[in-house]
Amino acid sequence: MKKLRKPEELSTLFEDSMRLLVGGFGISGTPLTVLDALAKFEAGNYEVVSNNLGDNGKGLHKVFMAGKIDKAIGSFFTINKEAIEAWSKGELKIELLPQGTLAEAIRCGGAGIGGFYTPTALGTKLAEGKEVREIDGVRYLFEKAIKGDIALIKADKADKAGNLVYHSTARNFNPMMATAAKIVIAEVDEIVEIGEISPEEIVTPHIYVDYIVKSKYVKQGGSYIEAR
């Protein structure tokens, strides 16, 4: 299967200062195996686009603790004590976007749209410096699209061509991130033969997916654990 890689084989794809799009809400739908490897790769100084910076010491939290993130763009960093500390010392830049604006910006990035007008955040601190425009009597705020160099996403299942399906609310930001980066790495729990996933059910078509990594994590009760 030509897209399948071991996580350590991906190291040459990453270069300093790249912008990475990382899927997940909390850690649900986060490519934990790929991020574990990323924390050990040589490159760093990344700009990361993700809803949050991992959770409970997992996911992006490990990459951040390895000192590899210069800037985070996302909607919710309040839960990450170390990130807040780094931000207050000036060691980490943070750009805060409303969650829906973040999602739409990535969707636009992958769909050839330069930006969009949204009513969200009008009249708030997050609107500072942004263009306001009235359209048919309604005020909107301009937001730019977001694209990345590499997207690191998590799906439930891939077929051997790279078609993806997701599991329940672990879908979150992953489908749009798959469209908005030059290189897309999808971590999956299961790999099946072509034809085993119905074309009606495929959410992300294989053309968006460059590499597939089999996840080392399994769910047990209320958490993800590393399987041996």
Binding site: F76, P98, T124, S168
Partner: protein, 213 residues
Amino acid sequence: MKLDNRELIAKKIAEELQDGDVVNLGVGIPTLVAKYIENHNVYLQTENGLIGMGPPPDKDNIDIDLIDASKSPVTITPEASFFDSAFSFGMIRGGHVDVAVLGTLEVDCYGEIANWSVPNQPILGVGGAMDLVAGAKKVIVASTLFTKDGSPKLVKKLTLESSGERKVDQFVTEYANFVFQDGEVIVKDIYGSFSFEELEEKIGFPLKLKITK
């Protein structure tokens, strides 16, 4: 059984919901509303990608990829569907969510709210709060009327960061249910231990009494 303040607020809000409403419940007191939705069909939407959210699972049936926006495990109802975050917020901004129930730190006399920045802490989290304020057809805020140090959350002018210029429709507290009309705060229902006059005195500016329960 006498309900505590948070439960009372949740129950009052549940009574406001209509049959067939699509409802998004925020973190905190709003989450409690689900318990009191009785005798009608309400479809619960959660912005991380689900419509048709059911009650929490029992301990043996937790799936940590099936969660609400506070990352707590949930279940799904028979007609539920999943979607991605862009679609979900399109549903919210596009006016397909009838009611958003949100917590708040402050509400001003026009119904503008501050519900995302905590005083004296760096502002590093917003989540979906601003999208819900801007996009839901109706916004109900749910909160106790006073802060821990006793100052009212209903204020003439916001002192904390605004969540958006769109005004909310109702503010439901443990003492009264408030609605907003051009800078006038109207008491729509009163059920706590304070009289209207006492309420006005505690809040510190004139209110209008117009029971429309």
